[in-house]
């Protein structure tokens, strides 16, 4: 990409006000944000720059890193860098979809439970208890085994896994809110319970839910890696970090770059989200920031 075209789109993409707002945030948000944006840029822009596709066999197998293949090649002679970056997109999309689905379902579940204290709440929360009684990975494996391996099923399975976390947060926040006078006021004004939840409760519980979503997305990334490692996630030849590590375990000592590339990519993305989450928590939690 030429220098001229860069200056043309740069100010459009990042308006000065946005940059200034970003620089005003705490250090954790800044580090996490920069890391995340850099990784996203690599994941999205990488395939444009690297000429090899993630499944093209471009060289001899198990070549160490070189100028042609920056991170070497794998057992089948595929470019590890191309595969790692392609996997980043898949992993992030899957993790994000799983997080978004469980956020929607969990928020609704928790709000309904918290608003209807009594038998409804009791039943809804016991269902979550049962769900959480299973070891999460075991539950995921069981669900995938029943549903079959496909990307859609993987997303669904993981979103089921993370519903309880969102639901518990939504419920406890709703419990506090339902006794607030502005929620009572809406009842007196004849606002329906559903409308009351959407207009008053949801906007006022969104902050803890957004913060939680950063930790859920990291959990989803790791779960997806683990499932792919076990062969129950995204199926080859589509590269995923967990799958790449699984393929390489037999030659790990001879070709460590095969494991190091997807491994460190996972760590960096997880770290970025965790830093961002901690930063947001510091920013919005009055007990921490004062």
């Amino acid at each position: 990409m030429s220098e001229r075209s860069k200056t043309a789109w740069w100010p459009e993409l990042f308006p000065r006000a946005l940059i200034r707002a970003f620089l005003g945030q705490n250090i954790l948000i800044r580090i996490g944000g920069v890391l995340l944006v850099a990784l996203l840029a690599l994941a999205l822009g990488g395939p444009l720059v690297i000429s090899h596709g993630p499944t093209d066999m471009v060289a001899m197998s198990l070549q160490p890193p070189s100028a042609a293949n920056l991170l070497g090649t794998d057992l089948l002679g595929r470019d590890v860098l191309a595969r790692t970056l392609d996997a980043a997109r898949t992993s992030l999309i899957v993790a994000f979809c799983a997080m978004a689905l469980s956020l929607l379902a969990g928020a609704a579940w928790g709000m309904i439970a918290g608003y209807n204290v009594g038998s409804v709440d009791l039943v809804l929360m016991r269902v979550l208890d049962v769900l959480q009684a299973f070891p999460p990975l075991l539950l995921a494996v069981a669900l995938v085994a029943v549903l079959g391996t496909s990307t859609a099923n993987l997303i669904f399975t993981m979103s089921v896994l993370f519903v309880p976390q969102f639901a518990r947060i939504a419920r406890s926040a709703t419990l506090l809110l339902r006794r607030r006078q502005f929620v009572l006021a809406a009842q007196v004004l004849g606002v329906s319970p559903l409308r009351n939840l959407l207009t008053h409760v949801l906007p006022n519980i969104s902050t803890p839910l957004i913060i939680e979503s950063t930790s859920v997305i990291t959990a989803a990334l790791l779960t997806e890696s683990a499932l792919s490692f076990l062969g129950m996630g995204i199926q080859p030849p589509t590269p995923t970090w967990g799958g790449m590590i699984a393929e390489s375990t037999s030659v790990m000592t001879r070709a460590p770059w095969l494991v190091l590339a997807p491994g460190s990519a996972t760590i960096l993305v997880v770290l970025a989200f965790l830093l961002l989450g901690d930063g947001l928590r510091d920013k919005f939690d009055p007990k921490v920031s004062g």
Binding site: R180, Q181, F182, L184, A185, A186, Q187, V188, L189, G190, V191, S192, R195, T199, H200, P203, N204
Partner: protein, 324 residues
Amino acid sequence: MTEPLLTLRDLTKHFPAGAGKVVQAVDGVNLDVYEGETLGLVGESGCGKSTTAHLIVGLHQASRGKVIFAGEDVAALSGRARQSIRHQMQYIFQDPNDSLDPRMRVRSIIGEGLVARGGMGRAERDALIREMLEKVGLPPDAMERFPHEFSGGQRQRIGIARALVLRPRLVVADEPISALDVSVQSQILNLMGDLRRELGLTYVFVAHNLAAVGYVSDRIAVMYLGRVVEIGETADILNTPRHPYTQALLSAIPDPDIGAAKKARIVLQGDIPSPIDPPSGCRFRTRCPMAQQICSEQVPMLGPHTSQDRRAHQTACHFAGAVS
């Protein structure tokens, strides 16, 4: 004005308190509120006055008894009829910092009831909101602002506008001034009085401050531990209280008149008993200076009933005559 606008019959609310016990927050309250009047409901905290206010507008479901509004048993209605009657009863909340959604603009806050009632376009709603803002003494540009941009008194004006924009017949005000600075309390009381005359409202005014209640009310009902112990015209209650509890409450009001003879203060012994296990008979007997045997055996009823006038001064005390 022979039929009351609002009637509470044997209204009772018991909250479960675990281990099979119940909190008798409100126990057999009977009240009549007539169109156009202001009924003050006073008592110390925990006496059930706020719960009574919640029961009237349906924020709590009664354990027993009825709320009758304009001749209709509210609990017996359903669907649209109930919704319509709910809109005729509105509520002013105690704490204007808590009663306005911090994430909403004033336009949405005041318009919320209109939207819920439906059948009205945006322009028509805005016109009503603007008119209501003017009535409560706020500038029209307040519509676009958020609650945190206003002072406590202004926020309570927004709360009043929200309740009145629906043109209710009855307004239940739950301690509407106790969260405000003393300097703006009287402004809000005067505003509520002006609006009552202008819009022909009926108020149930809940407060623990007898002086404020005396200032705005036509009649006063005094509550103690979930029951009404005395009710009557404001002047009667303030000048010739018959119930020993009312007498004690009144004697606690500081007298600003320096030259006046010092009145005797009646200091009650002990705390208000637990509503989980209230005293038998008269609930006030454990702190009453004139309690006798009969007080623990018989529940005193509001009386006398000799008069046909339901608005007459009535006291729930076995010795009401002897006291005064």
